[in-house]
Structure formats: C-alpha cells, structure tokens
Symmetry: C2
Subunit: 435 residues, 2 copies
Amino acid sequence: MEKVQPKTLPGFMELLPNEQIQMNEMKERIKKTYESFGFLPLDTPIIESAEVLLAKAGGETEKQIYRYEKGDNDLGLRFDLTVPLAKYVSEHYHELTFPFRRYQIGKVYRGERPQKGRFREFYQCDVDIIGEGSLSLYNDAEIPSIIYQTMHNLGFYDFTICINNRKILNGLFEEVGQKQNSVEIMRTIDKIEKIGPEKVAEELEELQVSQEAIRKILDFIQITGNNDEKIAQLEKMITQEGELQQGIQELKFVVQHVRALGVPEENFQIELSIARGLDYYTGTVYETFLNEYRSLGSICSGGRYDNLAEYYTDKKLPGVGVSIGITRLFYQLNELQALKQYKENMADVLIIPMVEDIKPCLPIVTKLRENKIATQIYLEDKKIKAKLKYADKLHIPYVIFIGEDEIQNQKVTLKNMTTGEQQTIGIEEAIEKLK
Amino acid sequence: MEKVQPKTLPGFMELLPNEQIQMNEMKERIKKTYESFGFLPLDTPIIESAEVLLAKAGGETEKQIYRYEKGDNDLGLRFDLTVPLAKYVSEHYHELTFPFRRYQIGKVYRGERPQKGRFREFYQCDVDIIGEGSLSLYNDAEIPSIIYQTMHNLGFYDFTICINNRKILNGLFEEVGQKQNSVEIMRTIDKIEKIGPEKVAEELEELQVSQEAIRKILDFIQITGNNDEKIAQLEKMITQEGELQQGIQELKFVVQHVRALGVPEENFQIELSIARGLDYYTGTVYETFLNEYRSLGSICSGGRYDNLAEYYTDKKLPGVGVSIGITRLFYQLNELQALKQYKENMADVLIIPMVEDIKPCLPIVTKLRENKIATQIYLEDKKIKAKLKYADKLHIPYVIFIGEDEIQNQKVTLKNMTTGEQQTIGIEEAIEKLK
C-alpha cells in the first residue's frame, strides 16, 4: 500500500507524552487557580462566522485568520478568546448574572509565518470580569492577586507584576500638548524595555514630538523608587483635575488594595512605561515578567477596557482581565530547560503478574484503583527485563510483582523503582505505602 | 455604530455557565478515570494536512471535512481522534514506549447537515492501547472495566456494556456460505436493536442471502441466556478450527477476565448482534447502553483493530479502544432532564463587605483561598438585596458578611444560603465549616 507521510503541520505544537504531562499540569494549575477565585467556566466554539470575528479585527489580524469560505459559509477560526467572549456576553446578555466572571482556556489560531517559538495554534488562558454598565475599581486590584496566585501555583516565585494606568499616560500626553499623538506615543514608549530610552526618543522625534515634550515623557516614565515613592512623586505632579489626576488616584487605589490582598511588595511594581499595544485598554494595565527570564517578555498581560462588546451591542460592558499564552510560555521554558517537573508519571504503580493465569491478580488492580492509586497492569508476553524497562521509561515509581507465592499468601511484592528496594507485604500495607 | 449580530453558528454547542459547569465536570470525571488506569495524555492539533486526514477517509467523511485551501495549503479540521492518533504513533514511533496507552479528549469537526442533537463541533473522549506488532487479548478485557469505572464516576449505575467479537460473526457467515457479503450482513444485523428481526430478515433477503442462512443468522444473534449460558451454547456450535472457534474462545477469555476485574454481571453482557458499523474492527467490539435511556443508542463504543496506522507506516500496530461522544450525550441527557447535577457552583462562598473601606476584608478573602475554599468577593456598589440575589443566582452556598463589628472582633457572619441560618463566628471556625 502507498503510504502517506505522517507529518504534523509546521507551527503546530505536538508533544511527546512526558512533555504533554507537564503542559497539561500547567494548564490544570492555571484552571484550578482561576476556579479558586470563583470564575465560571466558558467553552465557546473554535469556529465563528467571519462577520462576528471580523467585527473589530482588521489589519494584521484579519490577514492571519484561518478563513473557510464555501457556498454561503463564511467562517473563520477564532484568533483570541476576547472576541468570542464579547459575542457570548452580547448574545446571552439576558441570561447572565453580572458582574460576569469567566475563565476560558482554549486553542486559538493565527496564520502567522512559522518561525521558532511562534505557533499557529496555541492555548490562551483568559480570565475576565465583565460589569453591567459599570465595574468597580476593586476588580482591577483583584487581577494582580489572581496573577500572583497563578504564578505561585505554577511554581514561579521570582516574578514581577507591573502595573500602570493608561489614564496617567494619556493625561501626561495632554499636558505636554501631544494628545493627538497619544496612541503612537504609547506604542513607542511601550517598547522602552526592548529598545532603550535613546531609541524611544528618536522614534518620538519622528512623530514630531517636541524636544521638551520628549524630555518630560522620558523623565516621567523613568520615575524611580518603590511603589509608595512613585505614587508620592506622581501625586506631586497633579496640578488640576483631569485624566492625569484620575489615573494617579486609580493607580494608588489599586496598589493599596493589591497590598491588602496579600501580594508581597517584591512581586508587584508600578511601571510607568507599560502601555500595552492594544488600543482597547482604557485604565489599569498589567504585564508580568519572570525576573530570571526577563527576555521572555510579559507572560501574563491584560488590563481594563471600557467597553467589551460595542461591535455587537449598545449595552455598556466594561471589564478587566488578563491572559496567559501558555503554548509559547511552555515552549520557551522548555528551550531554556526551565520547565518545572510537576509530575513525571501518569500511573503510580505498574502491576507485573508473574503467573500464567492472571485472573487472581485482577482484583488487586481494581482494589488499588478504588483506593485512588493510578494503577496499570502489564499485560504483554515479554521478558521481565522488558517489563521493568517499561516502568522505567514511563517513570512509574513503583512496581508490584504478583507470583504464585504472593497469591497463596495474599501478599504482593512491592518494588521502589528509585531505590530498588523490594519487600513482600500485605495488600493493605502496600496501599498505605503507595498513598 | 453599526452592530454585528452576535450569533453562534448553528450546529455548535455553546452553553450557559450552569450547564457548562456540568459539562466540564463530566469531561473531568472521564479524564480522571482514564488517568486512574495510567493512560498518557495526548493533545494533537485540530488542523492537519488534508493528505493526512484523507489517507483513509472517503465517502461521507470526506464530504464532511472542514477543508481550508489557500495557496499551497490544503488543510482540514480533524473529524475524529483516531486518524490523529494513527499519524502520531507513526510519526513518533521511535520515541514512544509500547504498549502505548493514551487518552485524548478534544473537539472534532464534521460538516453535517445541522439538525437537533447533531453537532458540527463536538468532543470525543477516546482511550486506546496500541501494541507494537502484537497486543495481548487481556487488553480487550481491560476496556470494559474502564467503561464500567467511567460510567460509575459519571454517576450512572444502570447500564449495560455489550460485548461481541467480530470473528464470531465472520465465522458464522462463512459457515452459512455468506463470506462475500459479510460486511453488508454485519451492517444489517447491527441494526436489529433499532429495526427489529423482521426488517433485518427483509434486508438480508435483498442481499440475496438464502432463507436458510437468514434463519441461522437470526437464530444465532438472538441466542438467549446469561453470559455463561451464551458461551456454553456458542461452544456447542464449534465443529472445526477457524474464525468462529477463535472468536468464541476470545469472547470467553474476555468475559472471564472482565469478571475478574470486578465488573458486575449485571453491567456487561454478550450481545451477538453487535458488530459496529466501522470496517476496521477485527475482534472484540463494545457498545454501552444506559438502560433507562436505551433510545440514546450506544454512548460508549469501540473495539479491537488489527492495524491502526497502515496508511502511514509498515509497522504493524494493533490496538483496542473506546470513545465517548460527550457533546451529544450531554445534549441528550439535558433534553431528557436526566443530567446529573454534579456541581452547581464555582465559588464556595461569597464575601460581602459591609464597610466603606474594604481593605480589612481582603486578608480574609486570601486566607479562605489559602484554605482551598473557592472564594469570591462582591465588589460592586449595590444594595444588599442585589448582592444576595447574586449569590443565589450563582448557587453559591454560603455568604460571609464583614461589617465594622466583625472587623473589630475579628469575626465574620456566615450565612447558609440554603437554610438561611446565620451566625457570627471566628474566622478559623468559619473555615472549618466551609471545608
């Protein structure tokens, strides 16, 4: 028979079992964290009508959409989880209870040019709180505590959640007479971490920003000190009511409440250069960095938006949320050999029957499973060496041998695969040890 | 602004939060069960090259594939999890350890004509064991114990796992001189549950099967008795070596070992009419019925196949597995109002601050979460009635009020939302109660 080459498409992550166990464990820990904050699960279709998907998109995103046109069908694969959320909340508005707190962990698709570390199919892990008409600023303070807990549960301790407020930046630009350029300026200063202040100054010059304004902006976003010192310096700058003042007050409020929620000072920090590239953020913005791997960029980002679903509904639906791009993060950590080994094995124990008729062994298998011990029985006709190698390759930490003697005496022989230690004991005792 | 109508496509399931909680819990229980048998997780891309997808497909399946052709790209969305498994095992053959036991729970796509209860996007929950060259028959006995445990963990107790062996049917057809028609005959008798024996006889007549052969076939597939009685009757029929004899011996072996694995007699049964429509099964086949909802058809089906990946590799990879179509099952149970209420709420408790400055309440929120109590804090400025209604709508079973008095005395007021009972107690005591 002519064979088809079994190939996975470029740009699509497909893991070997040991890696998949880690990846799943990361997703699971994120999910459990989101759930511990009471977020509701959501699972929207991967395919949406092109009209819905493109309501807002445009430019690069539109080009990247996997689009499927056939007859009357004009469909596409979702490129993020925000558009489906906006659609969902608009469509089911009357059936939902607000504030609507949902998480969604799912695959999204972007037909990017394939390159190392870029994926065309990847998981996003989103958490958002959507208000009806309004949403209190307290929610902006809850987000960093969700990020903090998520990072901890993923086994990361040395990280910084950077917080800023777009109103501060907007207010500043207004004060230096650059309101009309604010989107471009924001995009430029957002890159300061990557390109440095000199390059930012150059790019601002190209935008026709005056030297004085550039100096003020750069001085501002490079304000130093701890969180309280930064706030104190910011408060000194308030000369009138307006966006700058409002942004500073919001930021101060958020910082105070993040603190009260128990996020330690070393894990969050006001970072005045952070703006987030996306236009729709209107207030608080977040980025999160692993301090040891700062080069990865932000691994958990988001912010406050005034209106989630304006393309679908007249209802005003402000929200705040963050997202983790777990596929890319997993890939990068793996490349850096910085992946946590959360879990190595699926089976806790491998039963190896040493008898012709395995029937007497089977109730023991069932009993172990009833005791919540993930149990596998080796069923193939192989040499004992091959069976032990199997346990070894799958990182199964214990093996149980059951031979004639064991059956006769209602015992099992339990072997610790790490130490090599082996003992013949009662089944109950083995269960205790395995637990 | 012109609005786009926020509409989910027909044939795509999108659930409200309360339903989504149940659906996720069903998927979670299936996953946990599969994992308790030591199966490795797998997560292949939803998009595959059309060449890979179509290696085997053809006919109806091919027409139903969501295909995406653009430039050099000829891609499609997977229509099951078996083709991706076959590709995966062939592609990563040298990196895998055999027998390769994997589960996969994921969405698949079929462009079926939309109709009630039929979905274009649906979850399959597959579990398979793939051998290298050979795979012992013991594995065929393990599958029903996986089904049994899965059903139990889903809260179903009144179900029947029907087992048959295709070799028996093939052998029988050979004995009555109908070997050349075996695929068609198998498809026909597979429908006996739905259309009854008379209609089966009619259809067999149309296939030019002789009256004597029809009588023999119908007598055979309607053999009655318990499992042992059926086996005894079958054994009496063995007159020579061959497929019939082999099939009967295999079935007997499987039944004996299913029993030894602790599956109760009332939950599994030899059912000689079961053949499974798919051509690739070669030995044991399974179907599972909820006895109270027999009309749903089989909710968990599968079988033994001789060669998983013949379209991709010369390696012989026999396997055995089953699949649960959870989207359809969920829909049908929901329609019948037969869904289990596994879980109603995500948050275990809603904190309602009764003070202007909520900062003193926040450490309590964090403390509850540290104690693994899923905790949500109500942060909007609403009347107390609206806040309680929120807890009620989200089925949150407890509310904690924190007012000035509580803060002063380091207490909380815990309200049981079911009984209405309310008491002011210490935080540690509240934690104990909530646990």
